[in-house]
Amino acid sequence: MTAVIAIEGLEVVFDRFRALKGVSLEVREGESYGLVGESGSGKSTLLRAITGLAPVSSGTITVNGKRLGKTRDKAFYREVQMVFQDPYGSLHPRQTVDRLLQEPLAIHGIADGEKRIERALDEVGLGKGFRFRYAHQLSGGQRQRVAIARALILEPSILLLDEPTSALDASVQAEVLNLLEEVRRRRKLTFLMVSHDLAIITHMCERLMVMQNGEAVETLTASQLIGHRVSADYTRNLLRASEGFVRV
């Protein structure tokens, strides 16, 4: 299989703070790849660097065989879309769902808007009844569904997911994770997913990278992690912590 995202020695520096210190990874076509780490590990920065939201100071990013420069063109955004962590912050407060979904179509000059919007709403399990609501008339889970619909409406092949469920209740989280798996299967998408929760990453991804302080700790397959076949102490700590509190 070919790598759809290839990252080599990626460095991101914000005001002399090195958020990413030379990270490399390869995501294959159709696979779901996870990035796990705690706050400050640089996992979200990596996603943002791919989309052009974070400044790359050295290293290369290649998407679908094309090396990315400083700016991204419109064609890039038709291939790569992102879902943000906070469903309360990622929808414009003054726009209806309809407007939100229309916007990407208008930017890319896509004609069959009506049909696409209805299809997208159906696909994320919302239906037409939600089309003219404002963000404040939606629950957290519904907002995240709208955000997913917005990301899918341009029919990208790669979806970047930045902690898509960490702001949601556990039961809603399950629904959104199921939805993400379903659209991935149906559309044969490639996922690059960030989370602090090992259980979510092993549930969603085939391979994963553990990150700490802007560096890669180790790269594992989900089955290695499930079998506790890990080599780094840090990963072992994370695994232990994810099992809950143990009285000593």
């Binding site: 419109k74 955004y77 990622s90 407060p93 003054r94 209806t96 309809d98 916007e103 890319h108 003219f132």
Partner: protein
């Protein structure tokens, strides 16, 4: 309309699952109106402004006498009475009629200034805030230069350069009143430019122009409307001030500031000549201020989640 029909119409407006674009928009406006109308003083302000508009529109019907031609022989400086409600001025003109016609000039000034200054401020502020860096520095330093002078002094300088007259007064006031709007628009822009919903639009591939115009400006507009409304009183006063100094509207135009200026010679003996237009300015300024306060409650972007 029966009580039930009203009830169902209200339910339609307040529905949290609108079925069309129009219903969503009307529902939003209705919620804002309910918030606005809960404030009694704001309603008083709105009433005053509506009355001003009505008076200006119907000036020809409402005014009993001509605004510019007086009866010099018999009616000079008469005190308020049943025939001349607010008295007459030194040229024998009925002050009540002049104030009614003057409302047109007041509205003219206020509306023109708002139409010119608010968009300039909005554009400069949002561009500066969104672009950042050099663009921001240059635009904001220009704004600072304008802000460094007292408004009236700067307006005076412009009028002196352009020549006296009400059109030039409007231009001068507009030129001096956009900088605060630019400041507000920039501050609003800075708070939203790093939000996820703006980033999401960037990730759609939208151009910076489109983001500013369609996503950032709508968020700045409500605070701008509030500020402009609250500034209306100041604009009226500046216009009146220019008129008073002889650089605004020129006699015999019945502009309120000019009227005060010509009345000041008799202020001790014939107080009504300057007092009546002064009172009109006071009422209208108050109206705009109350309206602005009410709008602030109704349109506050931070309560947009309501």
């Amino acid at each position: 309309m029966s009580a039930e029909a009203i009830q169902s119409r209200r339910a339609w407006l307040l529905s949290d699952r609108p079925a069309s674009r129009l219903q969503a928009r009307l529902g939003r406006a209705y919620v804002a109106w309910r918030r606005f109308s809960a404030n009694r003083l704001a309603l008083v302000g709105l009433l005053i402004i509506l009355a001003l508009v009505m008076v200006a529109a119907l000036a020809g019907v409402l005014a009993p006498y001509s605004a510019t031609v007086g009866d010099l022989k018999n009616a000079r400086l008469l005190a308020p009475s049943a025939t001349h409600w607010f008295g007459t001025d030194d040229l024998g003109r009925d002050i009540y009629s002049r104030i009614i016609y003057g409302s047109r000039w007041t509205l003219y000034v206020v509306i023109l200034v708002a139409i010119i200054a608010a968009p300039i401020g909005l554009l400069v502020g949002t561009i500066a805030g969104y672009a950042g860096g050099w663009t921001d520095a240059v635009l904001m330093r220009v704004t600072d230069i304008f802000l460094a002078f007292p408004k009236l002094v700067l307006a005076l300088a412009f009028v002196a350069a352009l020549g006296p007259g009400i059109e030039n007064a409007v231009l001068a006031i507009a030129i001096t009143s956009w900088p605060p709007y630019a400041r507000i628009a920039r501050a609003e822009t800075l708070t939203v430019r790093n939000s996820d919903y703006i980033k999401a639009v960037q990730l759609m591939g939208a151009s910076p122009f489109r983001i500013v115009l369609r996503h950032i400006m709508p968020l700045c507009i409500s605070s701008l409307i509030i500020r402009v409304t609250l500034d209306m009183a100041g604009i009226i006063l500046t216009a009146a001030g220019l008129g008073f100094l002889g650089l605004g509207a020129q006699p015999p135009l019945p502009e309120w500031g000019t009227m005060i200026a010509s009345g000041r010679r008799f202020i001790l003996d014939q107080w009504w000549v300057a007092g009546a237009p002064g009172f009109a300015i006071l009422i209208v300024s108050l109206g705009f201020n109350l309206l602005g306060d009410g709008l602030r409650d109704a349109l506050d972007p931070r309560s947009g989640d309501q």
